[in-house]
Symmetry: C2
Subunit: 220 residues, 2 copies
DNA sequence: AAAAAAATTTAGGCTAGGCTAAATTTTTTA
DNA sequence: TAAAAAATTTAGCCTAGCCTAAATTTTTTT
């Protein structure tokens, strides 16, 4: 049977909150992420467990079953492919596409997804640097580090963001930081952990700890 | 306030059933088109009237208000633009796109529609020959005639279909009839009104009355 | 112009997915 | 380790969109 829009959202959120270790997700965390109340979450968890999509024991938190994981990954695949479409083909900014993709990800047709993937040239990453699961459902999270873990003097490449909020992405735009940018850490301020960095060998600027915490980078 | 998926479908269907004269649409006709029961339709009509989207007096049938017409035309615009995208960009057949567009037409963002329209090069017609409303909401139905009204000896151009069912479209594919094809009526069988026609000056074939009734054509 | 038939609306219910308030269980703190 | 706090579940309600059965209105036939 088909899963509803709402069920798909729960599964996707459980996947995200579960992290790469697939740990238990709490009712309250889900209530927060779905912008509903804990009581409503409990109702839905019972339904998802009934359908075999999650492992749920009262008071114990939930994890995805293999089947639930599959569904979640399909939704993530669609979300990220649509984001690529919106940015690459329609000319949206990376700060504008999340909400629209949030709707498009629930359009059913398998064949649509595969034709879209083909049209886009089988992209591996979405506009925020997040990996796109392949048609078989394989999702490999590259292990990037956070900019706060980079030492003074190191040069790294910007590979993704942890925060997807438009305001954060726009802040990066104004700072001239984008996917692929080379970031050299020149200095770290002892007092507030802000960093002085140079972008692509050009402009130098200060980055707050808050920003550093949300930048995913890779040693080169 | 935003209109729901269901409300949008009602408005679109009322628009279609209302025809170019904007005549009253009956409860039963809506029940048939929405695949629901008359009682359910009545409920929804009261809600749409409440919102000022339709003119509704008990037992009298409904028409769209100006506001309702606007909403309906926006949905139609989205539906047809997405169909163009699916056929032109993703390579779907014209027989495969209706159901998918039926979902895509409810994705909200105005800006998405305009960017999509731009990406597609502002198409005037969808893959079935139906006119696409412009961004301002102008929808002009070209006045094509039905193939049954064409006399023997006339040559006409195929411009659209009345039936959008996949089986009908596939039948046309097998017959080599597509948008733009030139159809010359060679003979009309007195008994069953089937026609003998020649397509694009090449292949000759028989067309049943049922098919003729659903082909929109234009004198050249 | 009745009477019969058809169309439509009303009444009363159901499910999905929400909510608040109260009860229960688990976790933390003293 | 008992009490307090936090987390979670249960109970009871609500709205959107459906449904069936019964009542009402309109239309068609006699
Ligand atoms: Mn996103
Ligand atoms: Mn993304
Ligand atoms: Mn269609
Ligand atoms: Mn169409």
């Amino acid at each position: 049977m088909q899963n509803s829009f709402t069920e798909e959202n729960y599964l996707k959120i459980i996947h995200a909150l579960s992290g790469r270790d697939g740990g238990e997700v709490s009712t309250n965390a889900l209530a927060e992420s779905t912008a509903t109340r804990a009581a409503s979450v409990t109702d839905m968890l019972r339904k998802l467990a009934e359908k075999g999509l999650i492992n749920y024991k009262k008071y114990q938190g939930v994890t995805l079953t293999e089947q639930g994981e599959k569904v979640a990954i399909k939704v993530i695949r669609k979300h990220r492919l649509w984001e690529v479409f919106l940015v690459e083909k329609l000319g949206f900014g990376w700060d504008e596409v999340h909400d629209i993709a949030e709707e498009l990800e629930h359009i059913p047709s398998e064949i649509l997804v595969e034709k879209l993937d083909n049209f886009l040239g089988h992209p591996r990453f979405d506009p925020h640097g997040d990996p796109i699961p392949d048609a078989k459902g394989n999702l490999t999270e590259p292990d990037y580090k956070v900019l706060t873990d980079v030492h003074v003097g190191e040069k790294v490449r910007m590979m993704g963001v942890l925060d997807h909020a438009p305001s954060f992405l726009q802040h990066l735009d104004r700072s001239g930081i984008k996917l692929g940018s080379v970031i050299e850490v020149k200095e770290i301020n002892e007092y507030d952990k802000s960093a002085s960095v140079q972008i692509d060998g050009g402009q130098s600027l200060f980055i707050s700890l808050e920003v550093s915490k949300n930048l995913l980078v890779q040693r080169r």
